[in-house]
């Protein structure tokens, strides 16, 4: 089993409620999710809980582990703040926290997931553009890549997208 985010690019309005929810839930001065404006849509990205996580490979302190449900966790107790994972991740998911001198990373709000509640960012999305889904490898649950996302060949992120549909233009005369 592998959990991952799903983003409907037609629905996301770029309101940044997900960013604010993440900041509030984690109680940090910055958000682990960021919204990037692209041409015609917004990309709301956090950790993609990749199949082949580079952060996991390069960490010299055995800080990362991947649970059976595919969530990649970061053990702050072991982190020395060397920033190797920050540099290695093509999606800039791990972020250095100057207040603690350690790296922080989206853990899909694992404590909420374990209690059957969706992550804070998903709950906060007013248009339900952001969701969590279970990838079983059989069904095609959406596009794996859209313009604006870094190279996915190596790390194989688990995020899936509903690509933006061609929009009709209505002129008021």
């Amino acid at each position: 089993m592998q959990l991952g985010f799903f983003l409907d690019l037609n629905r996301c309005t770029g309101c940044r409620a997900c960013e604010a929810a993440c900041r509030n839930w984690k109680g940090m001065g910055f958000s682990l999710r960021q919204v990037y404006p692209e041409t015609g849509y917004y990309l709301s990205l956090a950790c993609n809980h990749c199949e082949n996580p580079e952060c996991f490979r390069v960490c010299p302190e055995r800080t990362y582990n991947k649970r059976r449900d595919g969530i990649i966790l970061h053990n702050s107790g072991r982190c020395t703040g060397c920033n190797r994972c920050v540099r290695a991740c093509p999606f800039a998911a791990p972020r250095y926290n100057p207040a603690t001198g350690k790296v922080e990373k989206c853990d899909l709000c694992v404590e909420r997931i374990d209690n059957g509640v969706v992550p804070a960012c998903v709950e906060a999305c007013p248009v339900k553009a952001l969701q969590v889904l279970e990838l079983d490898g059989k069904k095609d649950l959406g596009a794996k890549w859209v313009a604006g996302l870094a190279n996915i060949h190596l790390t194989r992120p688990t995020i899936r997208f509903k690509p933006p549909a061609a929009r009709e233009r209505h002129l008021l005369l």
Partner: protein
């Protein structure tokens, strides 16, 4: 066939007396040699007449997929060597478990449909029962291996202690190999081939490296091979020979199917295997990006590829255009093949004679073309720096799928 015989087949299945008994009863009922095979045509049980001198070895001499005449659910055909006519029925439909054969079949094959059908049903019960036990074991083994490979266990002692429950000595250092079938098309057909491949490798690995641990995750097979560290490091030839032998077996048994493998670095501590796993996957992915087939790639031999594989596509395109762009443009405008010449020259390690031989051209023609490349790029091909840049650009070209 009378109802009593049907009951006998069902009794064997219900009591779990094994495939040998099914083959024996089928042999008695039909009076013909009966053979039960798995999906890779490996012999699981057979009943041959005492006077027969068949020696098939481990596998029935037949090519997959079957080149046989179909009669409803049955197949009529001939073995390869010796050329014995057979009558066959697949065991199970979805999932399929194996095949049941009656040999030395004559023109009266219709008579044997009923016994074969009853025996296939009994064999299916037997095989599904043992498959269920195997699947349960496989599930728990995979979960444990996954915990090791995703750093989910707290320390080395926890790994070693849990390994003991499985009868594995994880105090010894292990090398990790990740394997995946080449070609990613046709998922339906691929699933059957994957299952056959898994069965094949499990059997042959058990023979060639009985101490190796086999696990699977999504569509990859993972092998952990215990190795002894020598003064000169690890002996890679052991891995190379093993993987090549498995590749040869796969190609010969599965109609030209090939697989590629990636090998992580060697770590003495089993708790560091998670790192080797990620490295092996990177090595495999890089070989995929270079569109190699049946490749064995070691992470520690990736060289400059390790630095470029993780670059963004735009950076790679820029580098490629800046380094090789003028030659590509010249080729397009003048209908020449200078890029191909350069690639052959570099992959022949700069050996003019070998490169000319590989391109079926005279060595002077090759020299002329290389001179032309030097003119276009205004660079000297004898400089190591230039050669390295061009070699890297050619690798980028493959990665970009140009």
């Amino acid at each position: 066939m009378d109802q009593q015989k049907w009951c006998q087949f069902m009794e064997i299945a219900a009591e779990g007396r094994g495939l040998t008994q099914v083959a024996r009863l089928l042999g008695e009922v039909s009076g013909l040699p009966a053979v039960v095979c798995d999906l890779t045509l490996r012999l699981l049980a057979f009943q041959l007449p005492a006077e027969s001198n068949y020696n098939f070895g481990d596998y029935l001499p037949l090519d997959l997929p079957f080149q046989a005449e179909r009669q409803g659910e049955f197949y009529l055909g001939e073995l390869k060597e010796p050329a014995i006519p057979y009558f066959m029925v697949p065991i199970g439909r979805e999932p399929r478990y194996g095949y049941l054969f009656l040999l030395e079949i004559g023109a009266d094959w219709q008579v044997y449909q009923e016994p074969l059908r009853a025996a296939a049903l009994a064999a299916m019960v037997e095989m599904s029962r043992s498959r269920m036990a195997q699947e349960t074991e496989r599930h728990y083994r995979n979960e444990f291996i996954q915990d090791i490979l995703y750093n989910n266990l707290p320390n080395r002692d926890a790994v070693v202690n849990r390994g003991r429950l499985w009868g594995w000595d994880l105090t010894r250092p292990h090398l990790l190999v990740v394997m995946e079938l080449d070609g990613r098309n046709n998922q339906g057909c691929r699933k059957t081939v994957w299952e056959q491949w898994h069965q094949l490798l499990r059997f042959h690995l058990g023979r060639q490296a009985p101490e190796a641990i086999l696990a699977d995750r999504s569509d990859q097979l993972i092998i952990l091979i215990p190795l002894r560290l020598t003064e000169t490091g690890i002996n890679k030839s052991i891995i190379i020979n093993l993987v090549k032998s498995l590749q040869k077996i796969t190609t010969s048994h599965l109609a030209g199917t090939t697989f590629s493998a990636g090998v992580g670095r060697f770590y003495e501590n089993v708790a560091d295997l998670y790192r080797a796993y990620q490295e092996a996957k990177v090595a495999l992915e890089v070989s995929r990006l270079l569109r190699r087939r049946a490749a064995l790639t070691f992470f520690d031999e990736l060289g400059v590829l390790r630095l470029i594989f993780n670059q963004g596509e735009q950076e790679l395109e820029d580098y490629y255009e800046e380094t090789l762009g003028p030659v590509v443009k010249y080729d397009t405008e003048h209908n020449t093949n200078l890029v191909e010449t350069l690639a052959v020259f570099l992959f022949a390690s700069g050996d003019h004679n070998r490169a000319a031989e590989n391109m079926f051209i005279h060595v002077n023609t090759l020299r002329y073309r290389l001179k032309k490349i030097e003119e276009i790029l205004s660079q000297d091909l004898r400089q190591l720096e230039v050669l390295v840049n061009l070699y890297t650009a050619l690798q980028v070209k493959v990665m970009l799928g140009r």
